[in-house]
């Protein structure tokens, strides 16, 4: 097990980088605690795989140092770092039995056959692979193959951390639940440092205790899933996390009231005061699940035109137009759906203010 520390990491794939835009990683300074479950979340091209490769040793960064438990490993290749990696597509020896697949990393290190057997049986038990041990890997389902891939990481007793690169992307939804549950159980039992890279917010938020959101080569916010959901510090985090993402509406300030095309929305006094001092374009931000929708006018509500209502099974998504802005609201099952006109209320505690794309707080 290990604490992983990144000191002032920057990386460019260009040999002679000139300005910031030439860097895939701009400046990453971060620590991963021993035994933590982390997710690196971001869109394609944000640098998350580059960062994972720096941690694993597949890539030596242009600048900065990587430490494992205080030891500088920046120049060490992956095989000298005691980490295991699980990739999007399981990497297995198709013609070998499941047992031999799991045993491979141990035999490779010249570990005695009796110890190999003991470790393989133990890991197979944790991952519920015992019934398949004699079967050939080729014939197994996608989730079983991914479990073997994970098992090959777990069999080594010296593993410091497991790095996952989009491990569930090619797995059917019903199997994702099962595999994710397994991953969590493994984390609970073995207390390994786990770093999970994904573009899928659902996977990141359910898997990790700490989620790091990456955007254009930078870590823009780190926090618990709840922190990222409730208080996104950047518009990008508000948009990227949550489905549908946060609603944003340009506004002006008038005392504690945010004005949207004449309509007034009350803000928290402190936030409004900070908003008056802030620079740049002001916008309101509210999550679709917190935007209240009424079929009739209620106190403090403002009217909006209904565009569509979509039944998504366990909830409905209402899309409305408010002064030229498209807003979405999540309606719980059973709630009355307004007709052509909806009355919106913005609960003060749930209504955020952004200046120039950054949370005012």
């Amino acid at each position: 097990m290990a604490r992983i520390e990144l000191q002032e990491i920057a990386h460019s794939y260009i040999s002679d980088p000139k300005d910031e835009s030439d860097y895939a990683l701009k400046r990453i300074h971060n620590e991963w605690e021993d035994g933590g479950a982390y997710a690196l979340l971001g869109p394609s091209g944000c640098g998350k795989t580059t960062l994972l490769n720096v941690i694993s040793g597949l890539l030596t960064p242009s600048q900065g140092r990587v430490f494992y438990d205080g030891t500088d490993v920046t120049g060490l290749p992956p095989e000298k770092r005691n980490i295991a990696q699980v990739f999007q597509f399981p990497i297995l020896y198709d013609t070998m039995s499941v047992f031999n697949n799991l045993a491979f990393p141990l035999r490779n290190r010249g570990i005695s056959e009796s110890e190999v057997k003991e470790r393989v049986l133990e890991v197979a038990d944790i991952l519920e692979l015992t019934p398949f041990l004699k079967k050939r890997a080729a014939g197994l389902a996608a989730d079983a193959k991914q479990k073997i891939s994970l098992g090959r990481g777990l069999v080594r007793s010296d593993v410091a951390a497991i790095l996952f690169d989009e491990p569930l992307t090619v797995i059917d939804p019903h199997l994702k639940w099962h595999l994710r549950r397994k991953l969590k159980e493994v984390h609970e039992q073995l207390n390994l440092t786990l770093i999970y890279v994904t573009h899928d917010q659902v996977e990141a938020l359910t898997f990790a205790d700490q989620v790091m959101v990456m955007y254009e080569g930078e870590l823009i916010q780190t926090g618990t899933p709840q922190e990222l959901f409730e208080n996104p510090t950047h518009k990008f985090v508000g948009y990227f996390i949550g489905s549908p993402g946060m609603n944003f509406i340009p506004c002006t300030l008038d005392g504690d009231i945010a004005r949207v095309d004449g309509a007034g929305i009350e803000l928290d006094g402190e936030i409004a005061a900070l908003g008056h001092k802030a620079q740049g374009k002001l916008e309101l931000g509210i999550r679709p699940m917190y935007l209240e929708v009424h079929a009739q006018s209620v106190e403090g509500s403002i009217p909006a035109r209904v565009k569509t209502v979509e039944d998504q099974g366990s909830f409905k998504v209402l899309t409305v137009n408010l002064a030229g802005n498209t807003l979405r609201a999540k309606l719980p099952e059973g709630q009355t759906v307004p007709g052509n006109e909806a009355w919106l209320r913005f609960p003060t505690q749930r209504t955020k203010l952004f200046a120039d794309g950054r949370l005012v707080n």
């Binding site: 059917d172 549950r181 899928d200 489905s243």
Partner: protein
């Protein structure tokens, strides 16, 4: 464009000894939007390829407006297809990629130009027309492939898991755009997916397919709320649907050893016997919400919090259950927990897995257009 009804009659597709499709019969109305929902290897791609005319069925017929077109090749049909992988001509510019199907059909140059620009605009790639596909992101490349399919104005538009290789957020955006584009078209749209949430977001009709057979068809929300078999409920639930085995005797149902509840609402006239009771995760709760609720006492196997919702996994007897509740509710693994279910929310299946009765829905809302 002439509107056509597309009929699939008793189709089998046999490869070696294996049935990839078994006795598939479907009818698609002009202008309809249809989602083909099924797990990996259910037969979705096989069916699309036969619909397109790329593959021939082993048995059965395809009729377009009553005319048998089973043997007619894809080139002679009015069909466009988008694949999971982003398939474009790597040496052609985006413009030429989109124009290619029109050029093949000998459409006049000015008409090609108008349609290419119009379609590119619809997919927000009008500024990329001079670029090569390799210079673009995955999302942009798939937009080109979709534009190439749309520009033909084909009567049948087939999309085989078109968004699966894209980022989660990109999928969300493109899905909304595609929905708007589909609505403006008169083509029959068939879109395959493994994801229940995607099927629900796309709306329209759903066809649930499993192991080469069609299990259920209908309006998407109707099928979601009335899955005809346990298998349909499994394919169409995310998180997985929860099952409990139940014994019905007289006016009560017994769950496991010690839980009994009265048969209310839709279950009032259930004959005595063994049943499978199904309930979706969002109808299991961590606190009592109603006097009718039945309590299940057990231990927490796992808890997951995604920022706005909590998923608690528990085991009860042989059942693995997942509770999905709004808000953040931390629970320790191994701690005791009570979960609550209102019997009104149970789907009741017989031992063979066929639906006996489903919960009464108060309203079935129609999609509102503004």
């Amino acid at each position: 464009m002439r509107k056509q009804v597309f009929i699939i009659q008793n189709i089998d597709k046999i490869v070696g000894q294996e049935f990839h499709l078994k006795n598939v019969s479907l009818e698609f109305e002009p202008g309809s939007r249809n989602v083909l929902l099924g797990r990996t290897l259910a037969g979705k791609t096989s069916l699309l390829r036969i619909m397109a005319g790329i593959d021939r069925p082993s048995n059965g017929k395809i009729l377009i407006d009553g005319q048998d077109v089973t043997g007619i090749s894809v080139r002679k049909r009015s069909v466009a297809m988008v694949y999971q992988q982003f398939i474009n001509y790597p040496s052609l510019t985006v413009y030429k990629n989109i124009a290619s199907p029109l050029k093949v059909n000998g459409v006049p140059k000015t008409e090609i130009d108008r349609r290419v620009r119009e379609t590119a605009e619809m997919l927000h790639i009008e500024d990329l027309l001079d670029r090569l596909p390799a210079e673009l992101s995955g999302g942009q490349q798939q937009r080109i492939a979709i534009a190439r399919a749309l520009v033909k104005d084909a009567q049948l538009l087939l999309l085989d898991e078109p968004l699966v290789n894209l980022d989660y957020k990109l999928r969300e955006e493109l899905r909304i755009e595609l929905q708007e584009i589909f609505e403006q078209r008169e083509a029959i749209v068939v879109y395959t997916t493994t994801e229940p949430t995607e099927a629900l977001m796309l709306g329209g009709n759903v066809v649930v397919i499993d192991e080469g057979r069609i299990l259920q068809t209908g309006l998407t929300p109707d099928v979601y709320h009335n899955p005809a078999t346990t298998r349909v409920a499994e394919v169409f639930s995310d998180p997985p649907i929860n099952y409990l085995t139940c014994t019905v005797q007289g006016r009560t149902a017994r769950l496991g050893e010690d839980i009994e509840f009265p048969l209310i609402e839709h279950m009032q006239s259930l004959p005595a016997g063994q049943y499978i009771f199904g309930v979706r995760s969002n109808h299991l709760f961590l606190s009592r919400t109603n006097a009718e609720d039945t309590e299940i006492h057990t231990k927490v196997a796992l808890s997951e919090i995604n920022g706005s919702e909590t998923f608690i996994h528990v085991n009860y007897g042989n059942s693995r259950l997942v509770v999905q509740e709004d808000g953040v509710h931390p629970r320790r693994i191994g701690s005791e927990i009570s979960i609550y279910v209102n019997p009104r929310c149970f789907y009741v299946y017989d031992e063979a897995g066929d639906l006996v009765t489903s919960p009464t829905r108060i309203t079935i809302e129609k999609r509102i257009r503004g």
